[in-house]
């Protein structure tokens, strides 16, 4: 009728078929899903055990020493150590360890999967073209859309939280690995080829070291994005600081929310500074 303001026809998408599909997939591949879940749980528990085993003052000292070695600034090192200790003094240490174990597991998985994938994309123009929209989707699709299916497949708790975090945080490491390798001066690559290096040798001995700074910047971003998922992950039952924020928001306890929110900020800042430090010394060497 009025096709100027209304669409001439409507498509009805049978969304309930998708619902049924996901549910029956969960039933059929139950055994496989269980193995994946168990494997991930083991990694998570090991990392969590290690972090719990480290006494708090060792971790604080570790941050101070590591930052001092990178920056040679004793003042800031002490400030970061003090901030970390502050989390413990406000009684949020165990929650922070929970959060940290999820973030670290997610980052390890992201790097383990994302780095080789990024290399692959840097070698093939076609793969790069195909994967671009996929990567865009992974970063922009609202998390809840795939969070709930992840629940049906993997149940509630830390495992689906890690999965959701990986989907979101893996993108920068893939992108920047790809970019870093592509940005390596073609003349250097040509030179190494002319000395008889194979593709793999060129990649490992020339391209990756040359692209190291960019790749590390990708790692830093991956880490930050994993931290950004902490609160969202707690909505599917991941314990830790995010859950504390969620509880205080749900109860409109502004003060409690602010305290736990600040703890997340502190962890994020420390992780950011430490991981940026891996980049800088290298780039200084290069500029010499």
């Amino acid at each position: 009728m009025n096709w100027i303001y209304e669409f001439p026809f409507q498509l009805t998408i049978d969304t309930s078929a998708i619902d049924k599909g996901v549910r029956s997939f969960a039933l059929t591949f139950d055994a496989v899903l269980r193995v994946i879940r168990q494997g991930l749980t083991n990694i998570l528990l090991t990392i969590s055990d290690i972090l719990t085993f480290i006494p708090w003052w060792v971790l604080v000292l570790f941050v101070i020493v590591l930052y001092f070695k990178q920056s040679k600034k004793i003042g800031m090192s002490l400030v970061y150590g003090g901030l970390l200790a502050l989390i413990g003094f406000t009684g949020l240490w165990t929650l922070m360890i929970s959060t940290l174990s999820i973030v670290i597991t997610a980052v390890i998985l992201s790097v383990a999967l994302g780095f080789p994938f990024g290399l692959l994309l840097s070698l093939s123009e076609r793969a790069n073209r195909i994967m671009r929209p996929v990567l865009d989707t992974m970063q922009t699709m609202p998390v809840f859309v795939y969070l709930i299916p992840a629940l049906l497949l993997f149940g509630l708790g830390r495992v689906p939280a890690v999965m959701a975090t990986v989907i979101y945080a893996i993108v920068p490491i893939i992108r920047l690995t790809n970019l870093g390798i592509r940005q390596v001066n073609p003349e250097i690559v040509e030179a190494s080829r002319s000395f008889g290096a194979t593709t793999i040798q060129t990649l490992i001995k020339v391209q990756i070291p040359q692209a190291f700074t960019t790749i590390m910047a990708g790692l830093n971003q991956t880490l930050m994005m994993a931290m950004a998922m902490v609160v969202t992950a707690s909505m599917i039952g991941a314990p830790g600081l995010g859950m504390e924020v969620l509880i205080s928001v749900n109860r409109i306890e502004v003060g409690r929310g602010l305290v736990s929110g600040t703890a997340i900020v502190i962890v994020a800042i420390i992780l950011d500074r430490l991981s940026q430090g891996w980049v800088k010394p290298h780039s200084e060497e290069e500029s010499l």
């Binding site: 309930s16 549910r23 969960a26 039933l27 139950d30 879940r37 168990q38 749980t41 998570l44 528990l45 809840f144 709930i148 629940l151 049906l152 149940g155 509630l156 708790g157 830390r158 495992v159 707690s234 909505m235 599917i236 039952g237 991941a238 314990p239 859950m243 969620l246 509880i247 205080s248 928001v249 749900n250 109860r251 409109i252």
Partner: protein
């Protein structure tokens, strides 16, 4: 670049000045994201629209946020206030932070549920009874292995309430009171969607699961769950987790000043009263037919004319039925 920016800014102000000036009064309902509140919003909204001629819309948000918005006046009508789930409810009513109009229903249930096949088995699905003697919450420790927590195999897992609800604290105290902490982890599901996904996926796999839930909900209508018994309700010890949940009063509230401005609507809302059974029937109708909540509301009004007639004057009732049947 600069020109484009200026143009955009200009466009923004022009558009901002163009807001439609004459719009009819529209009431804002709280949509706290669970199914029954959306249904009751639709019933109230349909009647308000057809009988009183006002518009209605829903503002989505979490329970505490919408509740806070009711008290700040951003939300006009809250059709389902679960009084026991709001820690500050009694205080807020006493201080007159919103107007309490009436009781929507009070025959609901909440507590720890297990699927019926866990106790009785299910011959059609080939499930043997797993815990034939499980009757009450205090029987849980002897069956903890059934409910194994995959992230901590030495304990069972009880899916708890949504963090921040008052019942969450009560359940945590109940864990202490009944000594369930020795054999079970209290697992915070984080959100309503996560909790119902956990329960429904366990049900469809035929696994044993125990968790907090409440009625009326589509989940309880669709799947066969059994509420575990507990000691009788205990007024003094309730907050400390002693005794079962009594049914919670679910009330209708409006923002301050509402009944002075719209006395007729307020009178209708104060008479509005349904029951858990009626609500469940409507939610099952939605689940089965895929109807929208507004369609379900129309179906509900025509199915329950006698009840609806008690909310309205004879004249108003006639207007409503004529409008819906035409």
């Amino acid at each position: 670049m600069k020109k484009l920016f200026l143009l955009l800014v200009l466009l923004f102000f022009v558009l901002a000045g163009c807001a439609p000036s004459s719009r009819r009064t529209t009431f804002t309902f709280a949509n706290a994201q669970w199914d029954s509140i959306m249904f009751h919003n639709a019933v109230m909204g349909t009647i308000i629209e057809e009988v009183f001629g006002y518009g209605w819309e829903e503002l989505p948000g979490s329970t505490p946020i919408t509740y806070e918005a009711l008290m700040s006046g951003e939300i006009d009508i809250y059709s389902e206030i679960w009084t026991d789930n709001l820690p500050s409810y009694n205080e807020d009513v006493a201080n007159g932070r919103f107007e309490l109009l009436g009781l929507n229903f009070d025959d609901n249930a909440q507590g720890l549920y297990v699927p019926r096949y866990v106790i009785e088995g299910d011959a059609t699905r080939g499930i043997e009874p797993m815990a034939p003697n499980l009757r009450s919450v205090s029987d849980l420790p002897q069956y903890w292995e059934l409910f194994e927590d995959q992230e901590d195999p030495n304990k069972g897992r009880i899916y708890g309430a949504i963090p921040g609800w008052a019942v969450d604290e009560i359940l945590r105290n109940k864990m202490d009171h009944l000594g369930l902490n020795a054999t079970f982890n209290y697992f915070s599901p984080g959100s309503d969607a996560a909790l119902s996904a956990a329960l429904s996926s366990a049900y469809e796999r035929g696994e044993a699961v125990v968790g907090y839930y409440w009625e009326p909900t589509w989940l309880m209508g669709l799947y066969d769950f059994v509420l575990l018994e507990d000691e009788p309700f205990n007024e003094n010890g309730f907050m400390n987790g002693i005794g079962e949940f009594k049914s919670s009063d679910v009330t209708v509230g409006v923002r301050n000043g509402f009944s002075a401005e719209f006395p007729e609507v307020a009178e209708f809302l104060s008479k509005y009263s349904t029951s858990s059974t009626l609500t469940s029937a409507a939610l099952s109708y939605i689940q089965e037919t895929g109807a929208s909540s507004v369609e379900a509301a129309k179906w509900f009004i025509l199915e329950n004319k006698e009840l609806v007639a008690t909310w309205l004057s004879a004249e108003q009732f006639e207007t409503l039925i004529n409008a819906l049947e035409s």
